[in-house]
Amino acid sequence: MEQAPEHDSAQSGPGGHLLSQLVAHLREHRTRLQEEWSQRIQQTHLLTAMTPQEMAAETTSVYDNYVEVLETGNVEALQHYAKDLSERIIPRGVETHEVVGIVLLLRDVLARSLFEKYQRDFSMLNEVLDAYEPAANRIANTVAVSFVDERERVIRQQQDAIRELSTPVLPVRERLLILPIIGVLDSERARQLTEQLLSGIRKHRAKVVVIDITGSPDVDESVANHLVQTVDASRLMGASVIITGLSPKIAQTLVTIGVDLSKMNTIGDLQGGLEEAERLLGYTVTRKEVSTSS
């Protein structure tokens, strides 16, 4: 009964033989055990977001994967499957506790069938459980971790999307960009804002940028620093920056970190900022006309 590859801790030692015995048992009673498991899932109201057909298909896959891992000790295939499954069910609102719940149910259903099979031979039962439990726990762990990883990835993606929406670079007219900042600016968002603004300047050939921070209640020192650096970097690309809606609190923060406010073009409100921007642009335009005609 030697099928043990060296990497497998579950199989090495005296458990190997027992595990293959119990794998045979689980294969033999596959239909009955899987049905029992599905019923338990329904009774505990897990995975209610899925249709019975979907449920049947998924439980079959999970069952077969589960037994395979017990047999080979190789969790890689299971990881892939769990990731794939998570991808499918996360958008439907399946929660972490549900996924962990069904795997633990399967573990218990299978353990119970082992009790039944070996109940007459208590020492044998003990040995079988000794072999089964660590492997089963490892599986439960793998599935839970894969699911949580996937969930976090999805959440990160959504955060990115939200961030992008929340710092739109708006070309209001030729050569003029408006960047309204709404909500709390953390350093990650500030970084993104800078990258978007600077590439926006190049893309729209902007000469003037109005950053309106009326909608941002407060910034910490590192974000304030970042804001100032963004203004400087915009200037290096040939664009002037007007900041509007600077609250007294943020102004204070800027002064605290040593920013000379008189060197920043700050205007009370967005309307005033736009007027100033037009003045700058209009001025430029007339000068250009003069210069090209000369």
Partner: protein
């Protein structure tokens, strides 16, 4: 000094020159064999050899020649002892008939190997010889020593790494000048990166000329790791290639365009400091996996060092003219920044940029 008259006609070296070397030769021999009964014989044998060659040795080279000869003589003592004690004649059979020149090289190699083997401890040597010479496989050795085949293989690898180092030391006639030399060379020989960091191998190679020389063949045999780059820096052009290489390596991670530029710029700055203040040094760029993905840059030189690191890190300080911005700017660019500098021994800057959480967007 019975051979005095023979060297009388030597252009540069006289018997008196050789006589002047006696204390040094004695020191070399005694430092190696201690109070071994044949120590004085070895001294005499060395002097005889030096004397007989004195006429052909170039002026000024007699002292180095004597040092090498003394070491050779001592190694052959080790070799003899070794031959007696150990049943090694299959590996180092020196009683073969003596064909011309080639034999000398062979003998040199054999004596170096014997010396190297003699430096191993009894158990290591036994295991290695059983494995390499008698052909015992790792399983058999494991069974014999009540351990696993994997452990035996690992131990054999360590032993081979040691043996390579000892062989090089013997054949190059290098006596490691510091306590750190052997651990560093062994770490390089085994290709164990973690161990190399522990013993600060790279730093040592900058400071220790013999080790730098010996490390060459040791490093060449290890296969190049592709997530780690070592770039020597000694000219303007090197600054550009170093920052280009760092940027290229960094593109393997999910760094955005800004971070790539930031990394290249930081590398450029630290390389310039090397060229300006130390003349030469090296930059090691390495991708990190833990605690999270990132890129680490270590810039090292053996230059004059910085006397006041705190001041150098304060904005507005620079030893070369201009704006007084160097290290503080670099520190602002990177996520982690550390500098170690010892006046007279050089400077090491270690800096890291962690991979951001957001992903590249096309610009």
């Amino acid at each position: 000094m019975s051979a005095t008259e023979r060297s009388g006609d030597a252009p540069g070296h006289t018997a008196d020159d050789v006589a002047d070397l006696i204390p040094m030769v004695r020191r070399i021999v005694y430092s190696r064999v201690g109070s071994h009964p044949s120590a004085e014989d070895l001294v005499q044998e060395t002097l005889t050899r030096v004397l007989s060659a004195a006429s052909t040795v170039e002026p000024g080279m007699l002292e180095p020649y004597a040092i090498v000869t003394a070491r050779n003589v001592v190694s052959s003592l080790w070799r003899d002892i070794d031959r007696k004690n150990r049943n090694q004649h299959r590996l180092v059979d020196l009683s073969a008939p003596e064909p011309p020149e080639k034999q000398v090289v062979l003998e040199e190699e054999q004596s170096a190997m014997a010396a190297a083997l003699a430096r191993l401890d009894e158990r290591e040597r036994r295991a290695l010889l059983d494995h390499e010479v008698d052909g015992a496989d790792t399983h058999a050795l494991a069974a014999r020593h009540g351990t696993t085949a994997g452990a035996v293989a690992a131990q054999l690898n360590r032993t081979r790494a040691r043996l390579r180092v000892e062989y090089l030391l013997a054949i190059e006639h290098v006596d490691p000048p510091t306590d750190r030399c052997r651990p560093v060379l062994i770490a390089l020989s085994s290709g164990d990166q973690r161990r190399q960091r522990e013993v600060q191998a790279a730093q040592h190679l900058l400071e220790c000329e013999p080790c730098a020389r010996l490390s060459q063949p040791l490093l060449e045999r290890g296969q190049q790791r592709n997530d780690c780059l070592r770039i020597p820096v000694s000219s303007d052009a090197d600054i550009v290639s170093a920052r280009r290489a760092a940027r290229e390596l960094a593109t393997r991670l999910a760094f955005g365009a800004t971070d790539l530029t930031v990394i290249a710029t930081a590398v450029s700055e630290v390389c310039r400091n090397i060229v300006r203040f130390a003349g030469s040094g090296e930059v090691v760029v390495e991708l990190l996996e833990a605690p999270t993905r990132g890129i680490q840059i270590v810039a090292r030189d053996g230059g004059p060092g910085i006397t006041d690191v705190d001041r150098a890190l304060g904005d507005g300080f620079s030893t070369y003219g201009g704006l007084g911005l160097g290290l503080p700017g670099v520190r602002r660019l990177m996520d982690e920044f550390a500098i170690a500098s010892e006046p007279g021994h050089g400077t090491t800057v270690t800096m890291t940029k962690w991979e951001g959480t957001d992903h590249e967007r096309p610009t």
